[in-house]
């Protein structure tokens, strides 16, 4: 029999429905796994007591024939960027250490309402700013994977690195992530799991600690495409408390997986063959094209001419929005406070002590590009380039239904390898940022291993609010790839 920690969400749901496992058994197995894997540092806060209460309530509902749906009794981890009522929420920053939200984010609230079990709050880059989970105030997260014959710890990617490590390491059945420029998809690729960013507006941002509001989007991190479809169904939905939430019905994403990709037009953008892409990644991309073609899809060459400008535009827009959003951390209403002789000094001391160096760097960049005399040259210019990037996709989608690219230029790297060079670190997101700027849904699917035994991901970008087509193509990739490697087995 499959160990409870090896279930997919779909398998656990079926086992719960069949009565062969209880929510309590599932939860106890995951609590034990979480406690045994503390060296990964995947969690900032573990909530085992709460998890067992959730599980018992779920079992009681099920016993009465009142089970709520596919997520009832499923143990999940929640990125520590989602405010959770009564449970410390830090955004991995010292400035929010000890902050206990008196309210629940809409996405985590939806998952509670669906009956899921919360195991704890996962580690991340501070305020979700990073691609390696090395900027957390609560320490680095380790990737459960190692290179063959090399025991040096590798980064899990970021910013949702704790979530990716927890899903990959079998510490939870699924996790919530958030993605601003690749923060779900890149760590998913690095840890050999599925990570999906929905269309902007699909999941409510209410109660999610804000980084760059025009880009931030929550999404599922799981071990299968089907699980991503199930988990997204529990997270998504219109929320009047988020002014950019889309007032649309949530489709049955799982049902979409039944439809084949026969006749689907898959766009292959020439510009994604970026400098610095490793040869294994480009070989895997070719393999992905062949898999989809064999499954009946049609490959279409497309052009997204402004691709190379997406990353520099992002590194103006995201820090600009962050500098504005993070102005709220002033030491007065919540979070850490360092006294000063006057109010300004209280602010300056609090923020100097509370923010880490990457967050400080981005706030300063954002403040600079928004300051008088530079606003038009940098910020408005970047917004115009963003419009061109979005237009590229609109034009490409006249010829295709979904776009296939690699997720990252290469596999996970060792801790410390890129942390001295901000721009080298930013280049991790070169293939994921364009879809973020255009607000499009995108998914990373584990598809193969590098020569030294590390997972690599393929990336599909869909049309706005057409996650279903993207999920279909992802299922076809997953079926063809047959990726069943797992960390620690080689």
């Amino acid at each position: 029999m499959t160990a409870p920690t090896d279930f997919t969400i779909a398998e656990a749901r079926d086992a719960l429905n069949a009565g062969t496992v209880s929510a309590r058994e599932l939860t106890e197995a995951h609590i034990a796994a979480m406690e045994a894997a503390r060296e990964l540092n995947a969690f900032i806060t573990e909530t085992p007591d709460r998890a067992l209460e959730d599980a018992d309530e779920s079992d009681a509902r099920r016993a009465k024939g009142e089970a709520l749906g596919p997520l009832d009794g499923i143990p999940l981890a929640i990125k520590d960027l989602f405010c959770t009522e009564g449970v410390m929420t830090t955004a991995a920053s010292h400035i929010l250490e000890g902050f206990v939200p008196p309210y629940e984010s809409s996405v985590s609230g939806n998952l509670r309402t669906a009956g899921s079990v919360m195991l704890g709050k996962t580690n991340l880059d501070e305020f979700a700013m990073g691609s390696s989970n090395e900027t957390s105030y609560f320490g680095n997260v380790e990737n459960p994977w190692r290179r063959d014959g090399d025991n040096r710890p590798l980064v899990p990617g970021g910013s949702s690195g704790g979530a990716a490590a927890a899903v990959s390491g079998r510490l939870c059945l699924g996790a919530t992530g958030t993605d601003t420029g690749g923060s779900i998809r890149q760590p998913a690729a690095f840890c050999g799991i599925v990570g999906m960013k929905p269309t902007y507006g699909r999941c409510s941002r209410w109660g999610v600690v804000a980084f760059a509001s025009s880009l931030d989007q929550a999404g599922p991190m799981t071990r299968s495409v089907r699980d991503a479809a199930i988990l997204l169904g529990g997270m998504a939905g219109f929320d009047p408390k988020d002014s950019t939430s889309a007032d649309r019905a949530v489709p049955d994403f799982e049902a979409a997986l039944k439809v084949s990709v026969q006749g689907l037009r898959v766009g292959i953008p020439a510009e994604y063959a970026v400098d610095g892409m490793n040869s294994e990644t480009s070989t895997l991309w070719d393999q992905g094209k062949a898999w989809l073609k064999d499954a009946g899809a049609e490959l279409v060459d497309i052009s997204l001419p402004h691709t190379k400008y997406a990353l520099p535009a992002y590194y103006i827009i995201a820090p600009a929005e962050a500098s504005s959003n993070l102005a709220r951390y002033d030491g007065v209403r919540y979070g850490q406070r360092v006294e000063g002789d006057d109010l300004t000094e209280l602010y300056e001391n609090t923020r100097a002590a509370g923010f880490g160096i990457e967050v400080r760097r981005r706030i300063l960049i954002g403040t600079y590009v928004l300051s008088a005399g530079y606003y038009d040259a940098y910020y408005i210019k970047a917004q115009k380039v963003r419009a061109l990037i979005a237009r590229d996709f609109t034009q490409a989608y006249e010829k295709c239904d979904v776009i296939l690219t690699p997720t990252t230029p290469g596999p996970a790297f060792a801790a410390g390898e890129k942390s001295d060079d901000p721009i080298a670190m930013y280049l991790n997101d070169v293939l994921t940022v364009p879809a973020s700027l255009a607000g499009l849904p995108a998914i990373s699917v584990p598809a193969g291993l590098s020569g030294d035994g590390l997972p690599l991901g393929l990336h599909l970008i869909g049309k706005a609010f057409d996650e279903e087509t993207m999920f279909r193509a992802a299922q076809a990739l997953e079926d063809a790839a047959g990726f069943d490697d797992r960390p620690g087995q080689r």
Binding site: P101, G201, H306, A327, R333, L343, T367, Y368, K384, A438
Partner: protein
């Protein structure tokens, strides 16, 4: 454009973050590198293009002008480091 030490001081002041003297030169170098790198956007012809602030193709929703929340003063101040009599506190602002 190179970001110099004085610019770092000015921007840090605007951002209300105290930057230690010893960090100024390092930050000036890092910010110069990043700004120099993003300046490649100058190559892009954006004449006649409207800046895009949001991908959400929607108007802000209206709702009835009525109270929907409130009466939770203690919750609001529950995370403040120095609340007094149900209020936030700050150093004296007006002499």
């Amino acid at each position: 454009m190179a970001v110099d030490r004085d610019t770092v001081i000015r921007v840090a002041r605007l951002a209300r973050i105290k930057v230690p003297e010893g960090d100024l030169d390092t930050l000036a170098g890092e910010l110069s590198n990043i700004i120099g790198w993003v300046e490649q956007l100058e190559e892009v012809d954006t004449d006649g293009i409207d800046p895009m602030a949001s991908v959400a193709d929607m108007k802000l929703r209206w709702r009835a002008d009525e109270v929907t929340d409130g009466g939770i003063r203690d919750k609001v101040t529950s995370n403040a480091s120095d609340p007094r009599d149900g209020m936030f506190s700050v150093p004296k602002v007006i002499e």
